[in-house]
C-alpha cells in the first residue's frame, strides 16, 4: 500500500522498520522532521529518542548505543554533519555500525537551507581524521530514500562500518507516494557478540579506536581496509537510464539525478541521444561501470549542486577516454531541466 510521505518522514519510518531503536539528534533545517518523527514514534516501539545538546553529543550517543549493540540513527544537515565528523571518525575506528542521514543544505558556513550537494567530498573522502571511509548512499526519490535507509542499516551491521545517507533538502521536504518496506523481524538482525552487554559468562568486550602500538594498529587498519575492499567489490550500486545508444551521458546523483532523468526524456523527445548514469553508492563509487561505459560514450556531463565534487571521481573513472565537462550550481540554486538541456546541446546535435 502506498502512502503519501515527506522524504524525511519516510526515512525515519524506514529506520524504525529496519529495527532502529535509538535516535539522537539536534534540530537543524531541512531535516527536523526526522527528529520530530522519532520523538513521536520511537517510544511506542520501546526505543529511545534523545534531543541532544549538540550534534557532537548526538553522534557520541550513537557511539554508545551502537556499542551496546542496538541499531541507532542520527540525522542532521551540513553544518551539523561537520560537527559530527569527530564522532564519525571514532565510529569508523571503533568499527561501530551507525546510520547517519545528511540532508544537505548550501554551504560553506551557515549558508542557507536550500538543497545543495556541497558535502560530497566530506562524505566520501573521509571528512573526519584518519584512514577511513563511509558507505555513502544517495537516494533520488522518497521511495528510494526509504529503501536505502533500510539497506544502510543492513550494510552497516554486516560490515561493522558507519553508513551515511546523503540526501538534500529537496528530497527531505518532498511529498511522494511511497511503498514502505515491511519491518525487519528482530531475529533477522544479526547477533553482535562484540557488543557491550555486560561481561557475563564471557571475557570483557572493549569498543575502542585506540592502539598505541603502530604495528598493531596497522594490522587493525589493514583489516579495516580489507573490509572496505570487499565493500568496493560487492556493494557498488548505480542506475543507468537510456545509456545504450547515448552520445552523451549525464552523471548526477540524488536530486540532481532525478532532474537529469527529466532532461534525458526531453532530450530524447528532441531526438538527442542522451542517457543518465546515476551513482547510488557514492562510496564505493561505481568507477568500473563508468569506465566500461566510457569505452563507447564520447561525452560525460557531470551535473551537481556544487562547484564540482563528484566530478573528480567521474574524471578519475573515465580517465581521459571521453570528454568530461561539468555543469553545476552554487549556493542552493537548483538548475532547471531547460538550463541543463541547453548545456547538453553544446555537446550533442540531433
Amino acid at each position: 500500500m502506498k502512502v503519501l510521505m515527506r522524504g524525511n518522514e519516510a526515512m525515519a519510518e524506514a529506520a524504525i522498520r529496519a529495527g532502529c531503536r535509538t535516535y539522537f539528534g539536534y534540530p537543524i533545517t531541512p531535516q527536523n522532521e526526522i527528529l520530530e518523527y522519532m520523538a513521536a514514534h520511537l517510544p511506542a516501539v520501546g526505543g529511545a529518542c534523545v534531543q541532544a545538546e549538540s550534534e557532537v553529543a548526538a553522534i557520541n550517543m550513537c557511539y554508545g548505543a551502537a556499542a551496546a549493540g542496538v541499531r541507532t540513527l542520527t540525522s542532521s544537515s551540513s553544518p551539523g554533519i561537520s560537527l559530527k565528523m569527530e564522532g564519525i571518525s571514532y565510529l569508523a575506528g571503533a568499527r561501530l555500525p551507525v546510520v547517519i542521514i545528511n540532508v544537505m543544505r548550501a554551504g560553506p558556513g551557515l549558508g542557507n537551507i536550500a538543497p545543495a550537494q556541497g558535502d560530497y567530498f566530506q562524505a566520501t573522502k573521509g571528512g573526519g581524521h584518519g584512514d577511513y571511509r563511509l558507505i555513502v548512499l544517495a537516494p533520488s526519490t522518497v521511495q528510494e530514500a526509504a529503501e536505502l535507509v533500510m539497506l544502510a542499516f543492513e550494510l552497516a551491521d554486516r560490515y561493522r562500518v558507519p553508513a551515511m545517507i546523503l540526501a538534500d533538502g529537496m528530497l527531505g521536504q518532498m511529498m511522494e507516494p511511497v511503498e514502505l518496506p515491511p519491518p525487519i523481524p528482530p531475529e533477522r538482525i544479526p547477533p553482535k557478540p562484540w557488543a557491550l552487554t555486560g561481561a557475563k559468562g564471557r571475557p570483557p568486550n572493549v569498543v575502542s579506536s585506540f592502539d598505541l602500538d603502530p604495528h598493531r594498529f596497522r594490522e587493525i587498519l589493514r583489516g579495516l581496509w580489507d573490509v572496505y575492499r570487499q565493500i568496493q567489490r560487492d556493494e557498488v550500486r548505480w542506475e543507468e537510464y537510456q545509456t545504450e545508444d547515448a552520445e552523451l551521458v549525464l552523471v548526477a546523483y540524488g536530486t540532481m539525478g532525478r532532474i537529469c532523468r527529466t532532461v534525458v526524456r526531453r532530450a530524447r523527445r528532441e531526438g538527442l541521444r542522451v542517457g543518465l548514469f546515476r551513482p547510488i553508492t557514492l562510496w564505493p563509487f561505481p568507477s568500473e561501470p563508468l569506465r566500461r561505459l566510457s569505452a563507447r560514450v564520447p561525452v560525460f556531463l557531470t551535473v551537481e549542486l556544487s562547484a564540482g565534487q563528484m566530478w573528480e571521481d567521474v574524471r578519475l573513472s573515465v580517465d581521459g577516454r571521453a570528454q568530461t565537462p561539468f555543469y553545476g550550481e552554487l549556493g542552493g540554486v537548483v538548475p532547471t531541466p531547460e538550463e541543463i538541456l541547453n548545456e547538453v546541446k553544446k555537446y550533442v546535435r540531433g
Binding site: 549538540s54 553529543a57 557520541n60 551496546a68 557491550l196 555486560g198 561481561a199 568486550n205 579506536s209
Partner: protein
C-alpha cells in the same frame, strides 16, 4: 629484609585483597598517582554491589585512557570529553546496564563541559567519576580549567594569571545548581580517612544508579605528582594545603 613474602603462612586469613573487578593488568599511571587509588575504589564498589557482569565503563582521553584494560568489565573508549554522551547512548540503548564514566578535569570540565552539564541536567541515570588533578596530566602538564591561581604549568610558566586565564572552574558547584542531578559530591584520597569517605561516595553513586535515582557525580580532588614535579608523598600536602582551598570537600547536592 625479604623483598616479597609470597607464601602466606598457615593461620593467616585475607582481610584485604585485590578487587575482583580489576584485571591482572598493571596500572599505567605514574608511581604514587591518585588515579590508581580512585580506579581501585571504583573496582571495590563494583565488587561490593556484585555488578561486574552488568557494568559498562566509559574510558576518557587522559591518563586513564587505558581504564578498559584495568577492569574485568565491558568498556567503551570515548573521544576526549564525550564520555557522558557515550554513557547516555549506552544507558538509553540498554537501561539494564550499569554505566559509569571516569574522566579527568580537562576531559570533563573543558572539552566535555557541554556533554557533562547536559547529561547531568537530563538526570541521565549514570555514574560519573571525575578526577580533578588541576592539570592536563597526559599531555605533559598544561593548564586545566581547574588549575589553581598562581600554579605553574607548562602553559602558565609564571603561574596561572587570573586576569588572562580566569579562575579554577568549580564544575561540581555548577552542577549542584541544576535540578537534574541526584548526587554531586567532592571527595579526596590523600589519607585513609578520606579514601574511606571517597569509597562510600563512589558506592553511593553506583547504588543511586541501581535504584534509578539518576545522575550521580563524585569529584575527587587529586594530585599529579609527576607534573607538579614533587615526590608522591608531597602530593598529599599539595591537595591539603593548596587544592582544598578552592575545592572544599563535601556533598554539594543530595536528592533523597
Amino acid at each position: 629484609m625479604s623483598v616479597v613474602e609470597t607464601k602466606v603462612p598457615a593461620g593467616f586469613v585475607p582481610v584485604y585483597t585485590r578487587p575482583k573487578a580489576l584485571s591482572d593488568k598493571r596500572f599505567t599511571y605514574c608511581p604514587g598517582c591518585d588515579h590508581g587509588i580512585i580506579t581501585r575504589l571504583v573496582a571495590e564498589a563494583i565488587d561490593e554491589l556484585g555488578i561486574q557482569e552488568r557494568t559498562v565503563g566509559v574510558a576518557p582521553v587522559g591518563c586513564a585512557v587505558f581504564l578498559y584494560e584495568f577492569f574485568r568489565c565491558d568498556f567503551a573508549q570515548a573521544a576526549h570529553g564525550r564520555a557522558c554522551a557515550v554513557a547516555t547512548g549506552i544507558k538509553r540503548a540498554n537501561p539494564e546496564l550499569i554505566v559509569f564514566t571516569y574522566q579527568g578535569d580537562g576531559d570533563l570540565a573543558a572539552i566535555g563541559t557541554a556533554e557533562t552539564v547536559h547529561a547531568a541536567n537530563r538526570g541521565e541515570n549514570i555514574t560519573v567519576i571525575f578526577v580533578n588533578n588541576q592539570i592536563y596530566g597526559m599531555t605533559g602538564g598544561q593548564m586545566a580549567p581547574t588549575t589553581l591561581p598562581g600554579m605553574r604549568t607548562t602553559t602558565t610558566p609564571e603561574g596561572r594569571d587570573l586576569r588572562s586565564t580566569g579562575y579554577p572552574l568549580k564544575i561540581s558547584e555548577m552542577l549542584a545548581q541544576l535540578d537534574g542531578p541526584a548526587y554531586i559530591t567532592r571527595q579526596a584520597v590523600f589519607d585513609v580517612r578520606h579514601v574511606q569517605m571517597a569509597r562510600k561516595a563512589i558506592l553511593r553513586a553506583f547504588r543511586n544508579q541501581l535504584e534509578g535515582k539518576g545522575f550521580s557525580l563524585v569529584e575527587i580532588v587529586a594530585s599529579c605528582p609527576t607534573n607538579l614535579r614533587i615526590p608522591p608523598a608531597e602530593g598529599v600536602r599539595w591537595v591539603k594545603e593548596q587544592a582544598l582551598k578552592y575545592f572544599p570537600l563535601g556533598d554539594l547536592k543530595v536528592r533523597e
